[in-house]
């Protein structure tokens, strides 16, 4: 519809990125992608999106840099503490009944959500029986998640969130301060598989008991949301749990009826037994 030259250039760029690299941002919510691309264009000092496109196609060092603009790396540990409290109080009692557990953090970005869940599972004595799967499309984010190192000045917020989430231990037990960085204990990720996975183009993961995918769906248009929710439905074991962001919804998905509400105010759903 919108016919500005910039909008045309953005479409061409996203098409080029898909055709050359198989990263598919074509059905991401466009207003946010446009802001991010214009930001990248300014930061890299290009005059136009077309110039950025040329660089992406001809200079192989460009795409990894651009991916850091196209994907969102903003999160915090125990973000929305009441979500983790609900997991702890309402979901964990069900999870305890399984001899082994699989948990998928879809769109794990720099790993804050993964470490939050790993700590919660440790506190609840579930670590030994759990495998975590942390996936993202951005290799740089996956590397950061694998490293588990965060600026020390963020730990005050993380600690406060952890306490509000009903944490049974002190967050400081799980990291060591190293100058201005907090290095999280590698025991937290010993049972984690980090993997490149796209909710847009890749297939389902098997037999998960919990999927946490918060503030990822909002970046997708309705069709992509539909696809992702279908993927979650396929990937969850019957009675498995799905947590999404506090302002996200399953209602645009044709697959919504695979799920029943579990803790509605925290956007935690349960895969129906059918």
């Amino acid at each position: 519809m919108s016919g500005s030259i910039e909008d045309i250039e953005i479409e061409l760029l996203l098409d080029a990125i898909y055709r050359k690299f198989h990263y598919d941002f074509r059905n991401y919510a466009r207003a946010s992608i446009k802001r991010r691309l214009l930001h990248a264009k300014a930061k890299f000092g290009f005059d136009s999106i077309s110039a950025l496109q040329s660089a992406v196609l001809h200079d192989e060092t460009m795409l990894p840099q651009l991916l850091n603009y196209l994907t969102v790396q903003v999160s915090e540990m125990f973000r929305d503490p009441s979500y983790f409290r609900a997991l702890r109080e309402k979901v964990v009692p069900h999870l305890r009944t399984y001899p082994s557990l699989k948990v998928w953090v879809a769109g794990c970005s720099n790993g804050e959500e993964l470490y939050s869940l790993a700590i919660l599972f440790a506190e609840e004595g579930l670590t030994e029986r759990t495998m975590f799967y942390a996936t993202d499309i951005n290799p740089a984010a996956l590397r950061a998640a694998q490293a588990g190192v965060y600026p020390l000045d963020r730990l005050r917020l993380f600690t406060e969130n952890h306490q509000l989430s009903g944490g049974r231990s002190s967050l400081s037990e799980y990291y060591t301060a190293n100058y201005d960085r907090a290095v999280f204990d590698k025991s937290l990720r010993e049972r984690t598989v980090f993997s490149d996975h796209s909710l847009v183009t890749d297939a389902a993961f098997g037999e998960m008991h919990l999927i946490s995918c918060r503030n990822v769906l909002i970046y997708f248009d309705r069709d992509l949301q539909d696809r992702a929710v279908g993927l979650f439905g396929e990937s969850l074991t019957r009675g498995g749990f799905l947590g999404i962001g506090s302002r996200e919804s399953l209602r645009f998905s044709a697959h919504a009826d695979l799920f029943s509400d579990f803790v509605m105010e925290e956007k935690i759903y349960r895969r129906k037994a059918r």
């Binding site: 919108s2 802001r35 929305d80 909002i218 949301q225 302002r247 996200e248």
Partner: protein, 187 residues
């Protein structure tokens, strides 16, 4: 102009300021009203309840992928940016803070300017930072209309003054006159 939407940004003192404008918008307002107020990132949105009681128009929290309805007041949820897509649907994002704020006025105004062009009215009210200045400039550049609360009468003048500096052609209005002015502009 043929207005299709109104966007409003307010920060410190904003609830008081909005209370002098939103309740006076008539029940038959033909366009949607999108509002960003800088609020702490708590989960519940007290603003919606507060203004739902005061306003003649329906008031709700903006939802992701929602289609805009005329005569409805939408508030950005705490801790999310509110954006407008070109097909006049809403989008939320948890992108980085802009001007240390999420939601940020600039994000709403810039995306709305993109979506509505000359069919947009942008209003910047009281506040203690610069958020909204770039956004209002985008509204002006796209051919939309800009209104700024008179800094002299604003609880905190910084934000409206910054908006005026960025967008000198903006009309300056007292809060008490804004609702009437909007009605005139909407014809």
């Amino acid at each position: 102009m043929n207005p299709r939407a109104i966007v409003i940004g307010a920060s410190a003192g904003g609830v008081q300021a909005l209370s002098q404008v939103l309740p006076h918008l008539p029940a038959d307002l033909a366009v949607p009203v999108l509002v960003v107020v800088h609020i702490p990132p708590r989960k519940d949105n007290a603003l919606v309840d507060l203004f739902a009681r005061k306003c003649q128009l329906p008031v709700k929290e903006a939802e992701d992928k929602e289609t805009l309805a005329p005569g409805t007041i939408y508030f950005a949820p705490p801790d999310y940016h509110l954006l407008v897509e070109t097909e006049a649907t809403l989008a939320l994002s948890s992108d980085e803070t802009v001007n240390h704020s999420r939601p940020a006025i600039d994000v709403l105004f810039e995306t709305a300017a993109d979506a509505f062009g000359e069919g947009l009215i942008g209003i910047v009210m009281t506040g203690a930072n610069q958020d909204g200045a770039r956004g209002l400039m985008a509204v002006c550049e796209a051919g939309g209309a800009a209104i700024v609360q008179d800094p002299a009468s604003a609880e905190v003048a910084t934000m409206p003054a910054a908006a005026l500096a960025a967008c000198p052609s903006a009309r300056i209005a007292a809060l008490g006159d804004m609702a009437a002015q909007l009605e005139t502009m909407l014809g």
